[in-house]
Amino acid sequence: MSSYTDLEAQEVDPTAGTAPARVQGRTPFQLAWARFRRDRLAVASIVVLVLIAIYAILAPVWAHLTGHPYDATFPKTGLDVNGQPRGPSGTFWLGADQLGRDVLVRAAYGARISLLVGILSAVLASIVGTLVGVLAGFVGGAMDTLLARLMDMTLALPYLLVAIMLATTFQISSVGASLTLTILVIAFFSFAAFGRIIRGQVLSLKQKEFVEAARSLGSSNARIMFVDILPNLVAQVTVLTSLLIPTSIVFEATLSFLGVGVRLPMPSWGSMLGEGSDVFQTAWWLLAVPGVLLLLTTLSFNLLGDGIRDALDPRGDRATGGK
């Protein structure tokens, strides 16, 4: 019998080539990027986020320019004769707070905390969630039962109570340690929802014929997991992570608002809102500045996440649902 090489001459079916002569196939990533660029809202939200990030990164610069370090109080210039905080002016661009501290500078440091905690805890939660979800979905059996119960339990815990309890038990006073604890707490309470979605995704991917095809070729479980399943999760993980960031930012703000998040004197939007709520009738800027920043950031991250999802998973392109 002949080898395949001898046969190719007879076997080429001229009608079979792809009809449209496109130069080079575009990767799914290129296609997604092309779609993303056409999404005005998503692009606008990126611009907003970049501006907020620049504002956060330049926090020491604002402190230097205004001559107001974030934890320094200026009772003479920042407070009026009655001891009330002064509103926005030439010296305090976004006003001062009850202690005469610069809101512009403090909000910039708060932005650092929000972005840092939001992104780090979302990434941590998505790594753990993906690992747990893939393990539960792919290995199945007792492993699945165990991990699924663990995720259920985590989701059933009253997260605020636990967070408050942890903060009071550990009596953490340093900024660094409170930052770490906050990130860990947020990640711990987010990974389970993440893991559940990934587990569901893996279970449905496992039923796909291409996984059966790989198995019938003799692929090992590890190969199926890394070569066939994981690449199909990338889109989902990206979208979920980008949507988890705003949730984590709000989570952090809530904890700090209640005084169990990042410790003073490090400002955070949540603690600024907490302090400002006492005097907001006379000093609206104390709520408006961190409030608007928080809203803009979470809204932009949400719009960005939606944009990524639409770009990666347009229903039309994926008739792969199949059987």
């Binding site: 079979a16 095809a213 790989a214 690449p231």
Partner: protein, 375 residues
């Protein structure tokens, strides 16, 4: 190429030695595959089982195409997955070149997977949407560490030409191909390791009719060129007749009748086969005139609790008491060649008119008013 060695050996030894064309490549011996139905969350209790494959005997000979037909849900795909080792059988043996594949260890299974490949029904679901075509077709080489780098690429492009794809499209993604082209990709992947057996599970039912013929002809041509053995599953009787040397008819997890294609289509003995053939559109107008449609009563019974005795009896126009009690064996019936086996106590005689008897049975059957109509 090193594949030529084994081909030469295969050809040289001839029949009688157990490796020539015509000898038994796969023997399915009394195979059962049941899916348990479980209830409860922690302590899962079995409350029943789907008898998907329920005692099947079949043989596939080297170089032939064995067609398997049957209604949806009769267990064709499950049987295919048992033969390719994707399902662990519940009971029975499957001998591949004499070795029982249901007892293979890890290494044995991996070697077996080189020899047996599968082509799937869904040209969309069977190709990973996130991988390039070159990598999909090259997968068998990677999994079995046969060829890498430039050598793999060269081989993949040869395969693409062989199945009528443009080798330049090596770097494309499955979404960029049409249904028929995707099925060609699946064929190329199945051919990569020069398997001894290819199981095609409804390879064309998802395709347009015009494309179906192209893919079927490709499969036939490849069989002639490469001496392949096929198990070809379909529910379209005419497709099966066109490609198959022998045909097995399945009903509710069992084989009802098996014979050479021409014999089975020309002189069906099992009432179910006769009914299927009469229901299919008959191309020959003379034959269409003569044939009367046998209308089967009721639906296919549930495979969870298949009927007693002959499992076709609730719908069979010839059913008698014996059929309810006794499961008919799959053996040659009087006047048939030895490889024409039928599981029926009262095989259809040539010229017998089932459609008429049917009305009489209908009155005693459980469904009193049945549509005795011809559309």
């Amino acid at each position: 190429m090193n594949g030529d060695m084994s081909d030469a050996r295969r050809a040289g030894q001839g029949a009688g030695q157990g490796t020539g064309p015509g000898d038994v490549l796969v023997a399915v011996e009394d195979v059962y595959k049941h899916f348990p139905i479980k209830q409860g969350i922690v302590f899962k209790k079995e409350i029943g089982r789907v008898h998907a494959v329920d005692g099947v005997d079949l043989q596939v000979r080297r170089g032939e195409t064995l067609g398997i037909v049957g209604e949806s849900g009769c267990g064709k795909s499950t049987l295919a997955r048992c033969i390719t080792g994707l399902h662990q059988v519940t009971a029975g043996r499957i001998l591949f070149e004499g070795d029982d594949i249901t007892r293979l260890g890890k290494a044995g299974l991996k070697a077996f997977r080189r020899d047996v490949q599968m082509i799937f029904q869904d040209p969309y679901g069977s190709l990973n949407p996130r991988r390039r075509v070159g990598s999909i077709i090259g997968d068998p080489f990677a999994v079995h560490s046969i060829a890498g780098g430039a050598e793999r690429k060269r081989r993949v492009q040869e395969l693409m030409e062989l199945v009528g794809l443009n080798p330049e499209h090596y770097n494309r993604f499955p979404a960029e191909f049409s249904g028929g082209q995707r099925q060609r990709i699946g064929v190329a992947r199945a051919l990569a390791l020069k398997p001894k057996l290819i199981v095609c599970d409804e390879p064309v039912s998802a395709l347009d009719v015009s494309i179906q013929a192209q893919v079927i002809n490709l499969l036939k041509d490849l069989q002639d060129e490469l001496g392949l053995t096929y198990v070809f599953i379909a529910h379209d009787l005419s497709v099966v007749r066109y490609v198959s040397d022998r045909v097995a008819v399945m009903y509710l997890g069992k084989v009802g009748e098996a014979a050479e294609a021409e014999v089975l289509y020309g002189r069906p003995r099992h009432p179910y086969t006769a009914a299927l053939l009469s229901a299919a559109s008959i191309a020959d107008p003379d034959e269409a005139e003569r044939a009367e449609r046998i209308v089967l009563t009721g639906d296919v019974p549930s495979p969870i609790e298949p009927p007693s005795g002959c499992r076709f009896h609730p719908r069979c126009p010839k059913a008698a008491d014996r059929c309810v009690r006794e499961d008919p064996p799959l053996v040659p019936r009087e006047g048939d060649p030895p490889d024409h086996v039928t599981a029926c106590h009262f095989p259809v005689e040539p010229g017998e008119r089932l459609a008429h008897k049917h009305a009489a049975i209908a009155q005693v059957s459980t469904q009193p008013e049945l549509p005795e109509v011809e559309e």
